[in-house]
């Protein structure tokens, strides 16, 4: 056929990658419209610098720790939304679904005296049931997800009011649930988890290289693997140093230090969903349905089941977001999961690099995008801007992210068929 340029390994001509070649390829991908989380990461750094310079309290360990519990609900809902968005669908009801699930937990804890290990699973099951109903209507009845979830958005708002007896506020006293969003790991445990995460990542990366090399397949250059591991180490160790500082205003009275408990919770779900999307048949099928539904159907993939499942995952993640929101606020009210929560969560997923057109996105997008949203919210609050300004800026940033997505897509279409 056409000319073979370099080494022939295993029959098919492949180019032995080098570190420089890897960066060259990456740059080519970026230019070709495959941006991933890059704009969000750059945006996060720029925003953090701006806020950090304008208000030195932004980088204080107290505020830094606060960012995590503030952003947890967005991040959880966004992680679920990534799955829905991967199929090119939308779930507008995720915010109030999280409110309903949080309310169920609070009611069971406070009004019915359930223990946390009964109330939390009940909230999660509620999320799963909600997701199944939404997914069923979208997949089996063929109603556009926009309409189904818009209806659910309104209905859940009503259910929440109904559950709360017309708008009462239910507070919770269960210490376990309160700890979820408000307490920290001990310093020793914080470091232990950080080290476990770094070592775990290194082991996964290196074993992949080893098993591929053993089969004579192309591997990432060792330099890149080392850089990845070192990069993760830096990204984890610096925050751990900051978070293990004493950040109590009055340390004698009440010592506050250590990584917030929400961080490992987010990390666990991030790892689980990343694994499921990247390394399992199910995840592959989600991408396939999102990329080309007809091709997926012809390949024998149960498209309807996949469609239902992503709504279940979304509402399930929303239920966890709701549990954490209730934990953080110590109570549930008719606005838990309401106001801007859903839109911030969709924004988080999209800003993080998940495409609204389906087929492109990762669990990490939700975390990075959620971080951007939270930093804007938090930083502008510190700078004393009004809620109005915050919304406008967040809106603009979402618009920028959506434009990046749309432009990248056009770029990809233009360069795709060379």
């Amino acid at each position: 056929m056409s000319t073979t340029t370099t080494t022939t390994a295993g029959g098919v001509q492949v180019v032995k990658p080098t570190v420089a070649g890897f960066f060259h390829d990456y740059w080519g991908k970026v230019r070709g419209g495959d941006l991933g989380s890059l704009p969000a990461v750059i945006g996060l750094i720029i925003l953090s610098l701006i806020f950090g310079i304008a208000r030195d309290t932004f980088f204080s360990s107290l505020n830094f720790a606060n960012l995590f519990s503030q952003g947890a609900q967005y991040i959880f809902i966004a992680m679920g939304l990534v799955f829905v968005l991967l199929l090119g669908e939308i779930d507008l009801s995720a915010g109030f679904a999280s409110g309903v699930c949080g309310a169920i937990m609070a009611i069971l804890l406070t009004n019915h005296g359930w223990p946390w290990y009964g109330a939390i699973p009940a909230a999660m099951v509620t999320g799963i049931v909600i997701g199944f109903v939404l997914g069923f209507m979208v997949a089996k009845l063929g109603i556009p997800s926009f309409v189904v979830t818009l209806a659910a958005f309104l209905a859940f708002q009503g259910i929440l009011l109904y559950l709360l007896g017309g708008g009462k506020n239910i507070s919770i006293t269960d210490t376990f649930v309160l700890k979820l969003a408000n307490s920290n790991l001990s310093v020793a445990l914080s470091w232990a988890l950080t080290i476990v995460a770094i070592v775990g990542y290194a082991v996964v990366q290196l074993s992949r290289v080893r098993s591929r090399a053993a089969r004579g397949l192309v591997t990432d250059p060792m330099g890149i693997v080392a850089m990845r591991i070192a990069g993760l180490a830096v990204v984890l160790i610096i925050p751990t140093i900051v978070l293990t500082q004493e950040r109590s205003i009055n340390p004698v009275l009440n010592s506050v230090k250590g990584v917030p408990i929400v961080v490992p919770i987010i990390a666990v779900f991030l790892v689980i969903w990343t694994f499921i999307l990247g390394r399992t048949t199910y995840g592959r099928h989600v991408y396939a349905v999102g990329g080309n539904t007809e091709a997926a159907r012809r390949a024998g993939i149960p498209v309807d089941r996949i469609r239902i499942s992503v709504f279940i995952i979304c509402s399930f993640m929303a239920s966890i977001g709701g549990i954490l929101a209730v934990s953080r606020a110590n109570s549930v009210d008719p606005n838990t999961g309401g106001s801007n929560i859903l839109l911030y969560s969709v924004g988080a997923a999209v800003i993080g690099g998940t495409s609204l057109f389906g087929g492109k996105g990762k669990a990490i997008n939700a975390v990075i995008g959620g971080a951007v949203i939270t930093v804007i919210d938090n930083g502008m609050g510190l700078l004393g801007y009004s809620a109005g300004t915050k919304y406008i800026v967040t809106g603009l940033i979402l618009l920028v992210a959506a434009s990046v997505d749309a432009l990248a897509r056009r770029r990809a279409a233009a360069t795709g068929n060379r």
Binding site: M1, S2, T4, T8, G10, G11, V12, Q13, V14, V15, G32, D34, S211, R212, R215, G216, L217, V218, R279, T280, T281, R284, H285, Y287, A288, G290, G291, N292, E294, A295, A296, R298, A299, G300, I301, G359, K360, A412, T415, G416, N417, R418
Partner: protein, 271 residues
């Protein structure tokens, strides 16, 4: 050439409601040969292929595969027999890479984890067996491939599963000159590897370039199945447009069969 057909259809009827699309169609596909299936738009080529691939069930007739009569009710059953169809729209996911596309729906796993090294190796071996050397990396996204490369991936996907019969629906329709040549070369190589290949095409040059046999459908009937060396270009065109040419093809039409909009050409030979 092999004496017994790998896939043999005979007496296939297929109707959609009141419209009979296939009338008593027979087709033989031999291993190691490319059988071109030609016919005008609406002649029933796609319907015939969909009957073979299990998307439609036949009303009447028999399908014999490897000497045994078989009933094909779903694409999975066709795939289980070793019949793979490469559709015109290729059915590839742009957001997945070459290996992921080739194994779509039939991923290899170790436990619950995808066995990427094995899949990559098998995909590489398959592409190598087709002498494909034009891809930069097996992990390239399909979105970044050219039309010819996509066709190649789609064909490789079809032959990955030790398939015995590969049906290609207009594989060169959207391709440029050089890419068409590459794909035709690939089609020829499939047959040379011992597969039975059915090539659907409108392009007579392509048909004569690679096929061993030519089967012409005319208004839902098999006009003729002939050896490519025994007919000329214009004879095939006549078979496609009129159903017969000289002494090959359908018997002269009975005027009552048609509504008069088909031009009756001088009756030639009879059969």
């Amino acid at each position: 050439m092999a004496a017994t057909p790998l896939l043999e259809l005979s007496g296939i009827d297929k109707s959609f409601g009141p419209v009979q699309v296939l009338h008593d169609v027979g087709l033989s596909v031999y291993p190691g040969e490319v059988t071109a299936l030609v016919g005008d738009n609406g002649a029933g080529k796609s319907t015939l292929v969909k009957c073979v691939s299990g998307i439609y069930t036949i009303d009447k007739g028999t399908i014999t595969f490897d000497g045994n009569p078989v009933a094909i009710h779903s694409p999975r059953e066709a795939a289980a027999l070793g019949i793979e169809v490469v559709y015109q729209d290729l059915a590839l996911c742009d957001n997945l890479d070459i290996v992921q596309n080739m194994f779509l729906g039939r991923e290899k796993t170790r436990g619950i984890v995808l066995d990427e090294p094995t899949m990559e190796q098998m995909a590489g071996d398959t592409l190598a067996s087709l002498s494909v050397r034009t891809v930069k990396s097996l992990r390239q996204l399909v979105a970044s491939l050219s039309g010819g490369q996509r066709q190649t991936v789609a064909i490789a996907k079809a032959v990955l599963w030790n398939s015995r019969v590969v049906i290609l629906d207009e594989p060169t329709a959207a391709l440029g000159v050089a890419q068409t040549a590459q794909v035709l070369e690939l089609v020829r190589r499939l047959a040379d590897n011992g597969l039975g290949v059915v090539l659907i095409s409108h392009n007579m040059n392509d048909v004569f370039a690679v096929s061993d046999r030519i089967a012409a459908l005319y208004l839902g009937r098999m006009a003729a199945q002939v050896k490519a060396t025994e007919v000329t270009h214009s004879q095939i065109v006549e078979l496609i447009t009129a159903g017969r040419s000289g002494n090959i093809g359908l018997p002269p039409e009975k005027p009552s069969d048609f509504n008069g909009d088909v031009v009756d050409i001088t009756p030639g030979g009879d059969q």
